[in-house]
């Protein structure tokens, strides 16, 4: 690792306006940009070759994705089993939420967007109700089983008819339950 000088914060320009200051750091990242010959590619500065290289690198890595998905599902199942054995309390709910939340963020990248939707619905169910004892356990359990089934059946993409129907039903029932219990629909983007 190359040694770097500490950022010289005292060199930043500072302007005071009433009770706030506007600071322009001298050491900004524009020094890492340079102009190259060639026409404007029409992408607003985006370098299509860099994106292609990154996508190709991700495609090479994708041979690992099914194995990683299996590990995430095993973690979710383990968190579900612990909650089933000990009851859904703050700790077991946090572990189950963490596993579901990770699948929500990763599953589409791994090729399982329907599993990501189920994990999103499970995350909303687990975090949308204050008292863990009030979380409908049977419904939470069905979410876990749905994710397991989607991965077991390798239902990749969005067009698996049975999986798509299952996901729609789970999302609809979860929304209804959250309205029934909390009086409000789940927060959505």
């Amino acid at each position: 690792m190359k040694k770097r000088p500490e950022a010289k914060l005292d060199e930043a320009s500072v302007k005071s306006f009433g009770d706030y200051e506007v600071i322009v750091p001298k050491h900004n990242l524009r020094t890492f940009v340079h102009k190259v010959d060639g026409p404007d590619d029409g992408f607003g500065g985006i370098d299509p070759e860099a994106i292609e290289r990154a996508e190709a690198a991700l495609a090479e890595l994708s041979v690992e994705f099914d194995g990683w998905m299996d590990k995430e599902v095993a973690r979710l199942t383990s968190a579900r089993d612990a909650a089933a054995a000990q009851g859904l309390d703050a700790a077991t709910r946090a572990d189950l939420f963490s596993a579901a939340h990770d699948i929500k963020g990763e599953a589409a990248t791994f090729g399982y967007p329907l599993a990501a939707r189920v994990a999103d619905s499970l995350s909303l169910l687990l975090q949308g109700i204050d008292d863990p004892a009030e979380v409908p356990w049977a419904l939470a359990n069905q979410h876990v089983d749905a994710i397991r089934a989607i991965v077991r059946e390798t239902a990749k993409g969005l067009d698996h008819p049975v999986a798509a129907e299952l996901v729609d039903q789970l999302v609809a029932v979860t929304t209804e339950k959250l309205i029934e219990i909390t009086g409000a629909p789940p927060l959505v983007p």
Binding site: A50, A56, E72
Partner: protein, 181 residues
């Protein structure tokens, strides 16, 4: 056209999920980055931040020890020895609007919702590199200017309380429509 010198930029990726760290690292290397460091929780991330002095921090939100939001607040300490102006990209499975606003108010530079894509990550990096925003320091906030639009066409009330403000009332478009009928 422009190119980013990824081979000169130093990244720190903080995520408790090893798979996600691997994916982000792969994308960054694909862009051309050479120096990509990793940490698996907020505490290790803070240590890595002071040790590696990265140019860009890419952090998850939900993590053990302390989370990405707390980490951001710790980095954004004016007067700290390390670089409080570092670009911070929050990469998270949380995507609700209130989370975006919360992270912005903690001093995050860019917000990126999972699932991640090469193009979306590149765009966030491009934004922090090419369009660095000034920093604002008030009693309750220190971070990149939360106003991205500084166009002169804005005619509403001044919302930064300490500015001299003037409210210009504008006739709602609906009323205009009615009066012209």
């Amino acid at each position: 056209m422009i190119r980013i010198d990824f081979n000169r930029l130093r990244f720190l990726v903080i995520d408790d999920n090893a798979h996600m760290r691997r994916i982000v690292r792969t994308l960054l290397h694909g862009f051309g980055a050479r120096e990509v460091y990793e940490a698996e929780d907020g505490a290790a991330g803070l240590e890595g931040f002071t040790h590696y002095m990265p140019d860009i921090v890419i952090t998850d939100w939900s993590m053990p020890i302390f989370d990405g939001l707390e980490l951001t607040s710790m980095i954004r300490q004016p007067g700290a020895n390390a670089n409080p102006y570092v670009a911070i990209i929050m990469l998270t499975g949380h995507s609700e609007k209130k989370r975006v606003l919360e992270s912005r108010d903690a001093g995050v530079t860019e917000f990126l919702a999972k699932p991640i894509s090469a193009k979306a990550l590149y765009q966030r990096i491009l934004n922090v590199v090419v369009n660095p925003r000034p920093f604002i320091k008030t009693k309750t906030f220190f971070g990149p200017d939360r106003r991205r639009n500084h166009g002169s066409s804005y005619v509403g009330p001044e919302r930064r309380k300490s500015d001299k403000s003037e409210t210009i009332r504008v006739q709602p478009l609906l009323d205009k429509t009615k009066s012209s009928v």
